[in-house]
Symmetry: C2
Subunit: 405 residues, 2 copies
């Protein structure tokens, strides 16, 4: 639902797709199978992944709309090189042979004393110390880099496509028996299994990422444009408090201590505010997501983007490790849901609604999603949108996916 | 025990003290009580804390010895300003009045338009946005800053005192009903309560702190001295592999992806190795602790210290939230213990040994500590020190505290 009628356009965007990842073909066979499978068949070789995503836009829906149309294609692109590797039970190769299609290494840059052109890949001598890398971590890396490529594309095309603002991104990729839940922003995913709540993401906000942001500002003070201090204070300092002692914390601290207020401390803090009101440089309330390349501190030339990260945290849930029943679900929601309905309440609605439908009724999951959205929005009364408990409903856009496991 | 006889001196050091924190007195009363307690009595006003600490030295015992003698005094010093505040049930003041003893603010730097000299502290207008700071977080901040002051003292006195090396530090402070467990390094603390294991620390190693270190190296490449790359690879790259694709990850990634090997990637990785063999710049296997100010990469002028942090992570355990029995304990151990005896095995030894002594026998906890140390060292056989399962015992120094809750 759109933020309780406050605006006409929905800044939440969503996507749900089944995507075919086609093995990349190349003249010489870019990634020869190590299973001795011989020559490539030239046909459509690959695998499918299932994909759900929520994009919570801010300062316009441009970035959210583009991400909803493209991010899965970037994930697909990153996975294309991995088609053979992921389908091969043996550990992923640490090093791949030369890429025939890529621009070749200039002979002059090749070390003269050594020549590996005739050494097959498997015969490369192994160092004793070699870290094992799992298939799972390759998929995680592919999703992480896909977010980066998506962000780069928004940056490149933002002028020509008139892409405004930025967006939080929460995606779920189902691939080869595992769910990969990637989150960049303040949306949230939980699994409800047999009534138990399993968190599948955490939120990235000025408060949860305070130390990373302070560390960056400490190392690159020029990013603060002489307007901000990297220290955090519990409230604004008044000029007349100079010389007094005030609570503060820096990038190294989780606790608080007193320091004598100096001139520099009168600057506005990099991180300021609490809960939903916490902001980076008084401007933005989330610290990860896509877009926001033009975002600046109001009436200044200070860019926010260096403090934002487009990289998600990816959590993995192995579906094969547990026997799931029809009531076990993965719930994705934007903050419009979670601001007014907590994990336990969501779990209760899930169980309540699912019980009222037959286990094989395919629309039962859609009904849960609808119920979650409607309950979080509330009902329009004289004093605005109200929840069942008469508290104010969510004034934000609300989007929910309920995915049976 | 000392590392199975390999060396003569013990690089593990320990300390156990009851420390009195005396309220700091000053001519004008530095921190007037807000409870209306009136004038100070001038006597010994303050409180006690109980303190246990383990210091696991490396490259000499100098830093560990000094830290074992001083760190609790630094904690005491940090707490001295908080004596009244911590004993006052109301929330800590955000801002304290001018410190009479400190050098006064120059009049010329005071804002002219405002004058607060006659405004009592409580009358300072509050901003609407004011973050609540708990007493607990003041103690955390005091311990964090005490570690920093300890590290600074080691830096200052290392030449005159001939302090060599560095040390991991694990401390437990019991104060006003709560345990504050602070860890900087790879020692570990767990609580065993009614047979259940509650982790009270996490380890800080090149692997667990990879992204922080890579982020620093990415922002400050000069710290790598042209010898190292901030990227991680699963193994060393050979010059002849230039142009091939190899698995890597950077400061933003948890997963792995392939990249084409360039000249720069042939440098040694900032983080290299796995498990106990992981190293920062091929030099050190822990990333937090005290000392190491002179530590450099072998036969180079590259300093390690900028990558190390002296700040601990502090976890709090509230003893008043649970009714404890005589078998509930806090166990502190250096990595010499945990390398060969895991949490569950430690819990089993604790329960086993405690059962064989009367609940009111004061030596029963000492016997647990002894048993843990002896079991982890093993018994000297023909093929070296062997555990009960015939595996090799810990070749490291082993120190254990078992503290009844």
């Amino acid at each position: 639902v759109i933020n309780a009628g406050k605006s006409q356009h929905n800044e939440d965007q969503a996507c749900c797709e089944v995507v075919f990842v086609e093995r990349r073909t190349s003249p010489r066979g870019r990634l020869p199978s190590r299973e001795g499978g011989g020559e490539l068949d030239g046909g459509r070789k690959g695998f499918y992944f299932h994909y759900w995503a929520l994009f919570d836009g801010h300062a316009g829906s441009g970035a959210a709309v583009m991400a909803s149309k493209r991010l899965h294609l970037h994930i697909c692109e990153q996975l294309r090189d991995l088609v053979d590797i992921l389908q091969d039970a043996s550990p992923p190769p640490i090093c791949l042979p030369h890429d025939a299609r890529a621009s070749p290494v200039e002979p002059s840059r090749m070390p003269l004393a050594e020549d590996d052109r005739e050494v097959p890949n498997d015969a490369v001598p192994r160092f004793h110390l070699e870290k094992a890398v799992s298939h799972e971590s390759l998929v995680i890396g592919a999703i992480e880099n896909a977010f980066k490529h998506m962000d780069d594309q928004i940056e490149r095309e933002r002028a020509s496509q008139r892409l405004s603002g930025g967006c939080c991104a929460l995606t779920a990729v189902y691939l080869m028996g595992k769910f990969y839940v990637a989150n960049a922003g303040d949306s949230r995913a939980i699994i409800i299994r047999n009534g138990e709540i399993i968190p599948m993401s955490r939120e990235f906000t000025p408060e949860t990422e305070r130390q990373r942001l302070q560390f960056l500002a400490f190392l690159r003070p020029e990013l603060l444009g002489k307007e901000f201090t990297h220290l955090e204070f519990p409230r604004r300092i008044q000029p007349k408090e100079l010389g007094k002692k005030m609570l503060y914390r820096d990038q190294n601290m989780n606790g608080w201590a007193y320091k004598k207020i100096e001139e520099d401390d009168l600057k506005f803090p990099l991180i300021y505010g609490e809960g939903k009101k916490a902001r980076v440089m008084a401007t933005i309330g989330v610290t990860r997501g896509l877009g926001d390349h033009d975002l600046k501190v109001f009436s200044s030339n200070i860019h926010i983007k260096p403090f934002l990260s487009c990289f998600p945290e990816v959590r993995v849930y192995d579906l094969t490790q547990y026997e799931h029943c029809p009531d076990d679900v993965l719930v994705l929601g934007t903050d419009g849901l979670w601001d007014v309905t907590n994990d336990k309440e969501v779990a209760n609605v899930v169980m309540e609604v699912l019980t009222s439908y037959e286990p094989n009724d395919p629309c039962r999951y859609t009904m849960v999603a609808q119920e979650l959205v409607v309950r979080s929005r509330g009902v329009l009364k004289e004093r605005g949108w109200r929840l069942a408990n008469d508290k104010l409903g969510s004034g934000d856009d609300i989007s929910v996916f309920v995915i049976p496991l």
